[in-house]
């Protein structure tokens, strides 16, 4: 299966970079039928661009059941047990021939978030630990245009890069068993929105009324890898108004071309 969002991602980035840099990759078996390929452990736009380009080049092989992209890794899942020597040698060769692609179609999405302590369960705790005011915390969280690196953890969960260092915070030692859909969290140097009720270990700063995953739509996720997300602070009244529109199926997330 061709991963359209990643083609777009490659397309976007190919405009800004003429030469595709090569990294020193490590290849590891991941169980009997998957290979984990790792890049330097950083959240870095050059690295994710390189991963996406590599992924694009190995999409179409028959014995591959899926590919999983993350910040600094690409996991190739095969539909049977793998001879690692043969497959890894082949992947290494393929990496040498990876090429960038053309064109761009990315968007910047305006996502409303209510940063009220009723929703932002850890808002005051983070402010205390970071020795800043809650207002400053919200200002720092709404300032960047976050890059969508990949979608994972659960359907429609966007991994965003660009979180300000001043509000980075490790995951909670004991994950919460239930975090409400729409909750906006901070986990280490990452931030993101929980698209459905679930367990999770991130520190919660607020809640968005927007649906990030809807299987009834042809594209269940409105955002894709390569898009950008801008959070906008809203009050509780605005939150409830938008929530009503979302439930009625009348709300469309707002975007501008990147």
């Amino acid at each position: 299966m061709v991963n359209e969002s990643l083609i777009d991602l490659c397309n976007l980035w190919s405009n800004s970079v003429s030469d595709l840099s090569k990294y020193n990759l490590t290849y590891k078996p991941f169980g009997p039928s998957a290979i984990l390929i790792e890049w330097p452990a950083q959240i870095d736009e050059d690295i994710i661009r390189n991963i996406a380009a590599f992924e694009r080049s190995i999409q179409k092989k028959k014995n591959i059941s899926d590919t999983i992209i993350a910040y600094n890794s690409l996991t190739i899942c095969y539909n049977r047990e793998v001879n690692f020597d043969i497959e890894i040698t082949q992947l290494q060769k393929q990496y040498e021939e990876v090429k960038p692609l053309q064109d761009a179609k990315s968007k910047i999405w305006q996502i409303p978030v209510c940063y009220h302590p009723d929703f932002g369960l850890d808002l005051e705790e983070i402010a205390r630990v970071k020795k800043i005011s809650v207002e400053e915390l919200v200002r720092l969280h709404t300032a960047p245009d976050y890059l969508v690196y990949f979608i994972g953890f659960q359907p429609g969960f966007l991994y965003l890069g660009g979180l300000d260092e001043k509000i980075q915070l490790p995951r909670r030692a004991n994950p919460r068993l239930r975090i409400e859909k729409g909750s906006v969290g901070i986990g280490g140097e990452q931030t993101g929105v929980y698209p459905m009720d679930s367990a999770g270990g991130w520190n919660i700063v607020g809640k968005s009324p927007v649906d990030f995953f809807d299987i009834t739509k042809p594209k269940p996720c409105f955002a894709k890898a390569g898009d950008r997300i801008k959070f906008t602070a809203i009050d509780r009244d605005a939150f409830h108004e938008i929530a009503v529109e979302v439930r009625a199926g009348k709300y469309e997330p707002q975007f501008e071309p990147l």
């Binding site: 590891k28 991941f30 169980g31 993350a70 793998v82 001879n83 991994y159 030692a173 995953f213």
Partner: protein
């Protein structure tokens, strides 16, 4: 048609799952116990890809709306068809209106109910497997399940197949070193290969173990996880990810279960012992 009279704890329709949608963060899903599900489909002469009903901890009650053959495999919870006591791994014929119930646990945790022709639930992204956010979460009281292909009853009858005892009773789970295994020190490795017990915190996403491994490993930058990945959480507790697990996570991945071990683990209940045993990778 099969009607759900009691929903049970968490019963679903499952087939071989929906791999290939990691780009939207969609779990692979599919039957928890590949061995028992394959056996069930074989017994009623189905294809391996046919969907079955997955029953958790012997909870639930079903009614056959028409005369049909069926079989049960996996966990044995003293099944009964009306007043008749049933055996697992054997094909029976239910009369129209007959009711299937369960009782005392003999062994296992997950049972499969297979019908010749397979269960017909909605196909979403190439699979009938139930999955949170993708299809209905689980079977509810009043649900009516149709059969995909009408099959004439077999004149030759059906085979009876002997059960693989160790699948349900051995504590040993064969596994491979996980991507972060080498970051563990000797003391941690020693603890990792001693006995663990299963906690009550178990579902299709993952099984949590009771005992802790002393842990000072840093979380990793979010990376892929797979069904069978054993994660070491900051509190030192281990989580074994199962079929509905997410596609990525941030806890160190210390072990990766073999396919057989995932199936065997799915049959364990709270308090049962498990121990991990490294299987050498064939090459690489």
């Amino acid at each position: 048609m099969i009607k759900v009279l009691h929903a049970g704890i968490y019963n679903t329709v499952q087939d071989q799952g929906r791999p290939g949608y990691a780009k939207w963060g969609i779990p692979v899903s599919g039957v928890m116990d590949q061995y028992a599900a394959r056996l069930a489909n074989t017994l009623v002469r189905n294809q391996a890809s046919d969907a079955l009903i997955e029953i958790t901890l012997g909870q639930g009650k079903f009614q056959f709306s028409e005369r049909t053959d069926f079989c049960l495999t996996g966990g044995d919870y003293s099944p009964k068809l009306d007043e008749e006591v049933l055996e697992t791994n054997r094909v029976y014929t239910a009369k129209k209106g007959a009711i299937l119930t369960f009782g005392k646990r003999n062994y296992g945790a997950i049972s499969y109910l297979a019908i010749p022709g397979g269960i017909r639930s909605e196909v979403v992204l190439e699979s009938r497997s139930f999955s949170k956010g993708i299809t209905q979460n689980r079977l509810e009281k009043g649900d009516e399940l149709k059969i995909l292909r009408k099959q004439t009853q077999s004149e030759q009858g059906y085979a009876r197949i002997g059960m693989r005892e160790e699948h349900y009773h051995s504590p040993t789970l064969s596994c491979f070193r996980g991507p972060e295994f080498d970051q563990l020190n000797e003391k941690q490795k020693q603890r990792l290969f001693a006995l663990f017990t299963l906690s009550k915190d178990r579902n299709r996403v993952g099984y949590r173990l009771n005992e802790s491994v002393e842990n000072e490993l840093k979380p990793i930058l979010t990376s892929a996880v797979l069904p069978g990945t054993v994660q070491l959480t900051p509190s030192g507790k281990l989580i074994v990810l199962m079929r509905d697990c997410q596609v990525s996570g941030g806890y160190p991945r210390v072990l990766q279960l073999s396919e057989n071990a995932i199936s065997a683990l799915s049959q364990k209940v709270a308090g049962e012992e498990v121990s991990f045993e490294i299987t050498e990778q064939k090459n690489g």
